[in-house]
């Protein structure tokens, strides 16, 4: 690993195809189903190979948002970023479903300058300042990623599940905090608020370190963007979907990559 930590963390934060390494970004809440008068959750956030072990890079929390059951922003308390993971707490003062989301929108460019390969990442505003106007073999990609997890106090509610209409999003049919082993759950993927058809969805159960095979489940969204999964056993699961198109919002970028990642807890029956 020759990449500097800062470069790697930034690149990973933008979820860019910097290398062939299959790092996984995730948030892991201490609990997803809660009762009680004054509950809290603490959330680990990292970029790693194995799920859910913090063994590579911390997830940057700059673009973290927490949404309370009433739709208002809630505070991420005690945030901290260490060598391998970030962590934050949320005081769950309302009953219902909370959403934690890290949404990144970045621009990535590769080009040649004086015969040398260069790579750049940043925002559309900084592009003109930082990328030479005469860059050769310029390839610009816009990358949008959304990383989410949900926790519920008491009865699950739907306010935080409403899509924003931007990028790749999950519109749950089965509530994400009402998932049980051996049961089927349905979800819909939306791209810019419309059903995202034919997108591959990968689901990997946690605990990779202690088994030989990944046990990845792959499925594809139907014409309505819908997919279903039957959870083989209880545990934490990581879900990822990605798609490419040319609907960039930055005119220099020819390609847009949109990804959605979430962590779900599946309880035993």
């Amino acid at each position: 690993m020759k990449m500097s930590l800062k470069w790697a963390a930034l690149a990973l934060a933008f979820s860019l195809p910097l290398s062939a390494q299959a790092h996984r970004m995730w948030m892991l809440p201490s609990a997803t189903v809660l009762s009680g008068a004054d509950p809290w959750v603490t959330v680990d956030a990292a970029v790693s190979n194995d799920l859910f072990y913090f063994e590579h890079f911390p997830l940057q929390l700059n673009n973290l948002s927490v949404t309370a059951p009433d739709g208002a922003a809630a505070k991420a308390e005690n945030p901290s970023t260490g060598r391998y993971r970030s962590t934050f707490d949320v005081h769950l003062t309302q009953t219902g479903t909370y959403k934690m989301a890290v949404v990144n929108n970045g621009v990535f460019a590769s080009y040649k300058e004086n015969g040398k390969n260069k790579r750049w990442r940043g925002t559309p505003e900084k592009f003109a300042q930082e990328v030479p106007a005469d860059a050769q073999d310029l390839r610009v990609t816009q990358a949008n990623s959304r990383l989410e997890t949900f926790v519920t106090v008491g009865k699950p509610t739907d306010t935080v599940l409403k899509p924003t209409g931007v990028g790749l999003e999950l519109a749950p049919i089965t509530h994400p905090n009402d998932l049980f082993a051996k049961e089927e759950a349905s979800f819909r993927l939306l791209l810019d608020g419309k059903p995202a058809a034919g997108i591959e969805v990968s689901i990997v159960p946690g605990g990779i370190r202690y088994r030989d095979q990944l046990h990845e489940m792959k499925t594809r969204t139907d014409a309505d963007g819908k997919f279903t999964v039957t959870w083989p056993e209880p545990g934490m699961y990581w879900l990822e979907a990605e798609t490419k198109d040319d609907k960039t919002t930055f005119d220099k970028a020819k390609e847009r990559r949109s990804s959605y990642i979430a962590t779900f807890e599946v309880l035993p029956e």
Binding site: V33, L34, S35, G36, A37, G154, K155, P156, F180, E269
Partner: protein, 170 residues
Amino acid sequence: MRTLIPVAVTGLMVGQVQAADLAVRIEIPRLNVAEYHRPYVAVWVEGPDQKVAANLAVWYDVKLKNDEGTKWLKDLRQWWRRSGRELTMPADGISGATRPVGEHQIVFSDGKAPLGKLAEGKYELVVEAAREVGGRELLRIPFQWPPRAPEKGEVRGQHELGRVALETKP
């Protein structure tokens, strides 16, 4: 068992159709563990659609300050999913303190809270127990309601519950 029928119910029998009874006997087993806490226990009646037809009892740590005992109610995870998460604790006529090791009987009457009036049909009595730093166990006893004749059912738990018995009487 007969002596445990509430006096109020027997008093109403004169000139009226007798209300059916449902008696549940739950054994909390003695466990040889280093750290023992009384189990949280939920008792409910489930219809064939797995929906809760009646919430009969939930025993949890009601004595902790600031309702802190409610924090572990979700560990009664089947009950929590089926109905607990929709209730406000303490729930009138349902919630009570945890019980010590031994046999405990609770009796319910047709038409009266918390059993209420169940439509005629097949049901299951469900008893779920979850113990702090311990395990969880869920037992079911099927029964017909209203009972046409006195009926008995019994199951035995493996680790968190002892004998659980159900007796219904017309």
